[in-house]
């Protein structure tokens, strides 16, 4: 095994461990979040984002890492985002959590995993079509919120953290 693969495996084991401990691998948790009845998934994701955001922005400012933003391809993000949302609600897992769900014994998630591999194969076959249609509409490139708004990244991060904490307080107050 190469160093890349070893690092990936170790990262994944810890990631899967934490996903399982946070109890976010379950269909019931994911669908209850989409039904806005249980905010466990939001609590988990937003906590990860806020902590990760400060660390990654700091490492980037120190020149220790490079950022890897995904392009704001308008058609891809809007149509793809909508399709993903539909499929996510029907399957009840996202790509990472489906694999973890099988790991904690919820074996029918394997049909979702197989469906996603088949979906990836269909996408590869249809790629020339998407490339000349949906993906060709408009591409705004790899833009970050600081460039888009002209606001300093730390100001945005602090505002994001404050909004998140406000949401957490509200979730707890409502018992969500």
């Amino acid at each position: 095994m190469s160093i890349d693969q070893l690092l990936g495996l170790a990262t994944g084991v810890i990631f899967g461990f934490l996903l399982q401990k946070g109890r976010v691998l379950r269909y019931d948790k994911q669908v209850a979040a989409l039904l806005l009845k249980d905010m466990t998934i939001f609590k988990f994701m937003l906590s990860a984002i806020v902590v990760g955001m400060f660390g990654i922005l700091a490492l980037h400012e120190m020149g220790l890492i490079t950022l890897s933003l995904k392009a704001m391809n308008v058609g891809g993000i809007l149509v793809g985002g909508a399709l993903f949302g539909v499929g996510w609600a029907v399957l009840g897992y996202c790509p990472g959590t489906s694999v973890g769900a099988v790991g904690e014994g919820r074996w029918t998630a394997i049909f979702g995993v197989i469906g996603m591999v088949v979906g990836a194969g269909i996408y590869a076959q249809m790629y020339p079509f998407f490339k000349s249609t949906v993906l060709a509409w408009s591409d705004l490139g790899k833009i970050g919120l600081p460039e888009a708004t002209g606001v300093n990244q730390w100001v945005i991060a602090v505002i994001f953290a404050l909004i998140t904490l406000g949401m957490f307080r509200w979730f707890e107050k409502k018992g969500l």
């Binding site: 990262t11 391809n73 029907v90 904690e104 029918t108 049909f111 970050g144």
Partner: protein
């Protein structure tokens, strides 16, 4: 302000989602740093590209020339890389954690699903399979899933990721509420 003792997850022996989530944030930071040092390229958490590579590996068995000539497989490269092993790691991490605290459970139907759609396993399998196909085509069009966009992209303040996550949840909420609407 936020007391982990009060969160509901603690009742089922899990950890507070705030704590587990915050630790994923730490993992994301450490992982980006280590991949930069040891692989020479800052690599972020993500999952959906691995499904493309898995599809490529599967098709390769039957028809290697198709994969070699397909523009998308060429673009994404059918290799067993860092992310591929990370996704496999998620399986083992979840297995380890659930075996350690006794929450591992062989379950064919999610309770919420069973209550609404009955106890047919084939029915659930078909929905999961079709949902998986649709979700993955969407994730590839959007160039990311809740890991790549939701976690990694938002941490980097990527505009595309904020919009993508809003679309994921927006359409997810609409479809989930339609599926679980009260029968009239």
């Amino acid at each position: 302000m936020i007391n982990p003792e009060q969160t509901r997850a603690s009742s089922s022996k899990g950890w507070s989602p705030y704590l587990a989530g915050a630790l994923v944030g730490v993992l994301a930071i450490v992982s980006v740093y280590l991949t930069t040092v040891y692989m020479g390229k800052s690599t972020y958490l993500g999952a959906s590209t691995t499904f493309v590579r898995a599809a490529g590996l599967a098709v390769q068995v039957v028809d290697p020339s198709y994969v070699a000539e397909n523009a998308y497989y060429v673009k994404e490269k059918v290799v067993i890389d860092w992310q591929f092993l990370m996704v496999i790691g998620i399986f083992f991490g979840a297995l380890l954690s659930s075996k350690m605290d006794g929450s591992f459970k062989l379950e064919s139907l999610p309770p919420l699903w069973e209550k609404r759609f009955g106890s047919s396993v084939p029915k659930r399998a078909v929905f999961a399979f079709v949902g998986g196909i649709v979700a993955m085509i969407g994730a590839r069009l959007a160039d990311g899933c809740p890991s790549g966009h939701g976690l990694s992209g938002m941490m980097q303040l990527s505009v595309s990721s904020f919009v993508a996550l809003a679309m994921f949840f927006g359409f997810g909420v609409i479809v989930a509420n339609f599926m679980y609407r009260k029968a009239s």
